[in-house]
């Protein structure tokens, strides 16, 4: 007597496709996923708890380690929250510097997402192309703040240091070359018929569902909702830039991927404009606001959101008037975007699970905090 039987497959925690130490317990019927059970916490370091015993400035290096692929944006979110709490006005020059570095960080993160997505689908060379640009970006970050991944560059009230001299020619060269590089990704990955067959129509996320589950970032925008905090609730000097928000139509894996590629072009535009404005400003202008040596925000509570590389990145900082924050909570976009993984994977093949996880672009440092 023949009968079929479901079997479980442990994908992860050590698996090339889960983008970190993430475990997915798949219940399979042949190759079709019946149920996907996400299990995480393998990278939980308790950053929220650690922050309680650190001073406000000392928390900044820890925020680097949340989304380590776009650490500048994490820095930015945190320092802006504390600035909001203390009512600090940041000098214009610092704002532009911040925009440049955070958009560079977004580019670096999207480069990795694009490349890793190609790798998830089996195109190894598609992985190397975006990494070439990411490498250039990291070289520039190294010039700016001495580190390639965990920058700790932003400070409460400004930035740690001025942009170095050698940075300007490097970024100009990069900006000149970058559009051609994105065209290369389009030719090598986006336009490839096999790639499209693998991603188009796969795991469609309807706009209704995306909103219900609080998705954000490219995942939400791919479902056709124009929601970008840089436009909707501008922070810093983002209201002064001219850029578009790419929006997808179907909400499938291809749209989620393509949104990131299109966003890279927009980030490129923003960096160009910011660099222009920055060079118009007089060099003598200060880079840091006047901040007391010991940062002691008044008693209070602020929740502030920015548009991170993976989605809406929110910081909830509560101060009790001492030098240590009373509570820091991070709204991690990867964590919330991941919450629908079970439903998105159901009914798709094992190979699609890889494509779906890749299209969500999660970082386990952020999921587990």
């Amino acid at each position: 007597m023949l009968k079929t039987q479901e079997f479980t497959l442990n994908m992860g925690p050590q698996h090339p496709a889960t983008h970190g130490v993430f475990r997915l317990l798949l219940h399979l019927d042949g190759e079709t996923v019946v149920k996907a059970e996400p299990i995480m916490g393998y990278l939980h370091r308790g950053i929220e708890k650690l922050a309680e015993s650190r001073t406000y400035t000392q928390v900044i290096p820890y925020t680097d380690r949340l989304d380590y692929l776009a650490a500048m944006l994490n820095n930015l979110g945190y320092v802006q929250t504390v600035e909001k709490l203390m009512g600090i006005e940041v000098p214009e020059r610092a704002e532009y510097v911040r925009v440049i570095v955070s958009e560079m960080s977004r580019l670096a993160s999207h480069c990795l997402a694009t490349g890793a997505y190609a790798l998830d689908l089996g195109a190894f060379t598609g992985f190397m192309f975006p990494f070439r640009e990411r490498e250039k970006l990291m070289d520039m970050f190294e010039m700016i703040c001495g580190s390639r991944m965990t920058f700790n560059y932003m400070r409460i009230g400004g930035v740690a240091d001025d942009l170095p001299e050698e940075f300007y020619p490097a970024i100009k060269k990069f900006l000149k070359e970058f559009p051609a590089c994105v065209d290369e990704y389009d030719g090598l990955i986006t336009g490839n018929e096999i790639f499209q067959a693998r991603t188009k129509g796969v795991s469609v996320l309807s706009s209704k569902k995306a909103i219900q589950y609080g998705m954000s970032g490219p995942v939400l925008r791919a479902s056709g909702i124009n929601y970008d905090l840089r436009k909707k609730r501008p922070y810093g000097v983002y209201d002064k830039f001219d850029f578009e928000v790419p929006v997808g139509e179907n909400g499938d894996c291809f749209d989620r991927y393509n949104c990131r590629v299109l966003e890279m072009r927009q980030s490129h535009r923003i960096i160009e404009q910011a660099l222009e404005r920055l060079q118009e400003l007089p060099e003598e202008e200060p880079l840091n606001a006047k901040v007391p040596k010991v940062i002691k925000p008044p008693k209070g509570e602020v929740y502030h959101e920015i548009e991170g590389a993976k989605g809406v990145l929110g910081y909830n900082v509560i101060s009790d008037g001492t030098v240590n924050p009373y509570r820091v909570h991070v709204r991690r976009p990867s964590f919330i975007n991941l919450s629908l993984i079970d439903e998105m994977c159901r009914g798709w093949k094992v190979a699609d699970v890889v494509a779906i996880i890749g299209s969500l672009d999660i970082v386990l440092g952020e999921v587990d905090c």
Partner: protein, 167 residues
């Protein structure tokens, strides 16, 4: 047409196949590190005033600083960085008022043995009691001598001034 994207992909990889290679062959060519590179730490013992700012700035409590007071001067007994906990955030270097801490352009900090990981910059025995006393005595003498010299100089200056006035 179906297949267009496939052929375009092949042309792109063909271009990169015959194009320039960008890898830096590491031990043969050294990639030039920027000035701000966060690498191995440099500690200048003589510049350090043992104020303890770096110890307080460190988020991960990496730095141990032990001092003893000899003749009103702080003497560093131990300055150690437990590098396995270091985040390389740079807050210690930033907080140093005397530029005693800094970076070197060296990132090869691997050690074969776990115990060798902490970077020990200063590790000295505390001075024996008699040596301390001697130094303190000397310092006292020196201070007295200095004071005397100063007073003498002052007196001389006053003398000069009065002479000058007279003259």
């Amino acid at each position: 047409m179906f297949g267009e994207g496939l052929i375009k992909g092949l042309t792109i990889t063909w271009k990169s196949l015959i194009g320039k290679k960008i890898t830096v062959l590491y031990p043969d060519e050294i990639y030039s590190l920027p000035d701000r590179f966060h690498g191995k730490f440099r500690f200048d013992k003589d510049a350090c005033i043992s104020c303890g700012m770096c110890v307080r700035a460190c988020p991960n409590k990496v730095i141990t600083l032990e001092t003893e007071k000899v003749a009103k001067k702080k003497r560093i007994l131990k300055y150690e960085m437990d590098i396995k906990y270091c985040l390389f955030c740079g807050l210690c270097v930033e907080s140093c008022p005397k530029d005693a801490l800094g970076y070197e352009k060296d990132f090869e900090m691997c050690q074969y043995k776990w115990e060798k990981l902490p970077m020990v910059f200063v590790d000295e025995e505390p001075l024996p009691a008699e040596e301390k006393e001697r130094l303190e005595e000397e310092a006292k003498k020196a201070a007295e001598a200095k004071k005397a010299a100063q007073e003498a100089a002052k007196a001389k200056a006053a003398e000069d001034a009065s002479q000058g006035k007279e003259g």
